[in-house]
């Protein structure tokens, strides 16, 4: 039977080296050949690789030494040859403002708009854009200037809205991007694009890519943790779901582990009542003893993996409660984060946990805060949203800085899109709403790898179009990967015949102007 040229399952597979193609292409193939060999999806391979994803090679190696087990498939990670270059940031914390914060009410200062209150935005600004069903039928697109005054802050004199008094205090540390832009105009595709580089479900998110590529830095906690902020029922909360922190076609070990506020921070973490630590230890010892017999008898290497997983589970049962035990935090912590931080599930509490995870070597932490979808009553809702988030964000960055962690931690603040300068629904002297806006929105980063105290990119007078230095979501993600020592073009995973990557098939570029 004639072999497909790319078939690798056959005894003597043909390779592109055998094909009449240019030498450069052959060299490129040779360079990535080693990596390809790892890319199987079977359980046998994944057992160990998976373990490495969740708990890092250190943990496995330590365990393997004790158990006289040869660790083989962590070579996969070595095969990836990651990081590609010395990273500036070892870990990242992503503050995700789900719903789409209005850039012109927070960071993108447009002083000229006040004079145009209730005037129609010129058609030329909008061009032939197809709007959402929510405002496409509007006869008028009245300009709604921000309700809040802006002031200059810091040595850099960066303009920030009065809505964000705490963030304003750290502008000299921030790398503000005014020209982030996306392809999608509705929440689900936009939030997927932002997190996974693709509008369609089924692709791994940024955190999963990092867990896969960089692995863990600790033995006792997951590599990628997701914290959801308790919703405020008064806000317009768009749903978020675990597909946003899913691993897509990567092994599901790389998916984010949701840490919940409450008694069971990790699902099923607590021992059942009536089972103390000694009973659990005794039980695990018995299970391990029998599993070792099975290993000898059957010879399935997966059994080794299972033995190790049960040990990891036991360790997590103490490391996770330690992580969320805030009783030893000094008063200075509470002074910094504010009283909200004592309430599990609040944004400030999650920020504090994010710092504790950074200290404990969690590679990637993502905090979701919902409610930014201010189609109506922006004047009523934005102060609430900012009050809930501003201090926690500031406290996290400040705390990381004080502890010397900000140097190698990248902190990212972003939503899935921005909002329109024109009012959705009625515009009054006192209130307005804003629709989704994909063409420009403000995000920021700070910490390892990015240049502090700059504002990147320019938008037009209506904060509607990018005038200078656009940063597409793909470029944004490419830049994040760069800070973590990863060349986004080389960081691929073969699936469905394609070398898949976070930054999708359309060319993406690291934004050099953002880098330190």
């Amino acid at each position: 039977m004639k072999q497909h040229p790319l078939c690798t399952d056959c005894e003597n597979p043909m390779t592109p080296l055998d094909l009449p193609i240019p030498g450069a292409a052959k060299r490129e193939w040779a360079a990535i050949e080693t990596r390809r060999r790892f890319l199987g999806r079977s359980g046998k391979v994944l057992g160990w690789a998976a373990l490495a994803g969740l708990f890092g090679e250190l943990g496995i190696r330590a365990y393997a030494r004790g158990a006289d087990v040869k660790v083989s498939s962590t070579e996969g990670r070595n095969d990836l040859r990651l990081p590609h270059f010395a990273p500036k940031a070892k870990r990242a914390i992503y503050l995700f403002m789900s719903g789409g914060p209005p850039q012109m009410d927070l960071f993108d200062y447009k002083p000229n708009l006040a004079a145009q209150f209730n005037e129609d935005m010129p058609d030329s600004v909008r061009g032939n854009q197809q709007l959402t069903g929510m405002t496409a039928g509007q006869a008028h697109f009245p300009v709604a200037p921000s309700h809040w005054p802006f002031r200059q802050h810091g040595k850099t004199g960066t303009w920030v809205s009065d809505l964000l008094p705490y963030s304003a205090r750290m502008v000299d540390d921030l790398t503000i991007i005014k020209t982030t832009n996306t392809d999608a105009i509705n929440h689900e595709p936009a939030i997927m694009l932002m997190n996974t580089g693709n509008m369609n479900a089924g692709k791994p998110c940024l955190g999963a890519w990092l867990a896969y590529g960089l692995g863990s830095m600790n033995d006792n906690l997951p590599t990628f943790i997701v914290l959801q902020t308790r919703t405020n029922p008064k806000e317009n909360n768009q749903p978020v779901s675990s597909r946003l922190w899913g691993s897509g076609y990567l092994s599901s070990e790389y998916a984010g582990v949701g840490l919940r506020s409450g008694a069971d921070p990790v699902l099923y973490l607590a021992d059942p009542s009536g089972v103390d630590r000694d009973v659990r230890r005794n039980m695990l010892d018995t299970v391990e003893e029998i599993n070792r017999q099975t290993l000898v008898e059957v010879g399935d290497p997966e059994t080794n993996a299972r033995i190790a997983q049960y040990e990891m589970a036991f360790r997590m049962q103490s490391s996770v409660p330690e992580l969320i035990d805030l009783s030893k935090e000094p008063q200075s912590t509470w002074d910094l984060y504010g009283p909200d931080a004592k309430q599990p599930g609040t944004y400030a509490y999650n920020c504090l946990l994010a710092r504790r995870m950074a200290e404990r070597g969690v590679r990637f932490t993502q905090i979701y805060k919902r409610g930014w979808d201010v189609h109506g009553d922006a004047v009523g809702m934005l102060p609430v949203l900012c009050q809930e988030t501003d201090r926690g964000t500031f406290a996290l960055v400040t705390d990381l800085k004080r502890r010397g962690l900000l140097d190698d931690t990248l902190v990212i603040w972003a939503g899935e899109f921005g909002r329109t300068v024109y009012s959705q629904g009625g515009l009054t002297q006192d209130n307005y709403g804003r629709d989704h806006h994909p063409r420009c929105f403000t995000t920021w980063m700070t910490g390892g790898g990015v240049r502090p105290g700059i504002t990147y990119g320019e938008t037009d007078d209506y904060s509607y179009n990018v005038v200078k230095d656009p940063v597409h979501v793909r470029d944004f993600n490419a830049t994040i990967l760069h800070c973590l020592g990863i060349d986004h073009n080389k960081f691929t995973y073969k699936f469905q015949g394609l070398d898949q990557k976070l930054t999708s098939p359309v060319p993406a570029f690291v934004v050099q102007g953002l880098l330190a």
Binding site: Q138, L267, Y268, N282, Q309
Partner: protein, 456 residues
Amino acid sequence: MQLGWRNPEEHPAKDARYQDIRLYARALSPDEVERLPFEDYAAEIVSHPSSQWSADQWHAISDFFLNHVDPSYQVIKRKIPTLDKELDKLSLGGDLTQVSWERPSLAYAHVLTRGVYTARTERVEADTPHFLPRLAPGKPHNRLALAQWTVNAANPLTARVSVNRMWNELFGTGIVETTEDFGIMGQRPTHPELLDWLAVEFLESGWNIKHMYKLMVMSSVYRQSEKSNSQQLAKDPRNLLLSHGPRFRMDAEMLRDVALQSSGLLVEKIGGPSVKPYQPENIWEQVSYPTSDTLHYVQEHGNALYRRSIYTYVKRMASPPSMDTFDAPMRDVVCTRRQRTDTPLQALVTMNDVQWVEAARGLAQLVIRGAGPDARQRINRMSEILLAHDAPTPMAAALEASVHQMQEHYAKDPKAAHALLEIGERKRDASIGEPELAAWTIVASEMLNLDETINK
């Protein structure tokens, strides 16, 4: 004259475009109002040779012909309301439920360049890929045509894909590993001739699924021992060449069902609405709209807790976490092949989930009641239930040691024993002493957590 106003209170449609505007020199009769817009349009189309008509134009003409020219159609059409009523009556209850209707107009889609919603290019209609057989000629390209095409013996895919999925379920890896993709981006079959043979067998058996499963599980390749040696592992670590029998971690639903069945908790009722068994709090609330009708998970009680896992209610945004942990798919994208991972989170489920602790207690009760007072007898019974063989001596020794320790422990701490036995809603067997039952519950939990139990 005003165009584009539905009613005076509303704004006019903005940026509307008009395809056809007709002005008549006199007021039209109601009949003409109904007829002329179609008749004039049809006349224009008919003035061109039919070979030049677009699909839309064909559609317009057939609409016009049926509604305004063909008298027999009117007769048939008048029967429709009666028939519809009959159909409604027939679809109330009964074994068949109609879940979709063919849309009456032409179905089409636009190719979007790189999926961008504004970048429409070509308009396309339903058809099969060019390298596969064509749809039956002269028939509409609809669901019926697709169904007939799918099960046509000339279709090279259906039988192969089907038997491959059965193989995948039994052996853990398909003959074509990428069960979802037989194209050039998928894997090549490891045993192409076997796949062909099975496909033909499936066809000739009259698409008899039970026959195929029976054939596979009774084959010598399936009945091989799962044991492997280092030579086999070195030469073929993934057992693609099937030198030994399949061994892999069971799927999420299967695992939960094993726990329920082995503990005597399983309720074997078939069919009926989905049920809501145990689930940790705040799983749905975290991801839902505040107005969602599935905002709050309300756990059911009684038999609903012990139905087979296929009856568990699944909310797509938040699938049941105990199954999600074992790689059950989210159901937001199609999944024909699950991942099969081993994680510490899974160990936490099988050790700590109420459902599993309750199952351990159930299993303990079964063997205490059914296997006499002797510890070894009880262990053997557990092993028989879960592993289908007696406990080998080293295993039995380890478990016996454990049960003695646990009995001592719970005799000293009866409160702990009581607390452990309170877990789960099924009433426990009060005739068994608490320390004894607690100790055996722990041993049953150990058995349920064995690698051999969790693997097929």
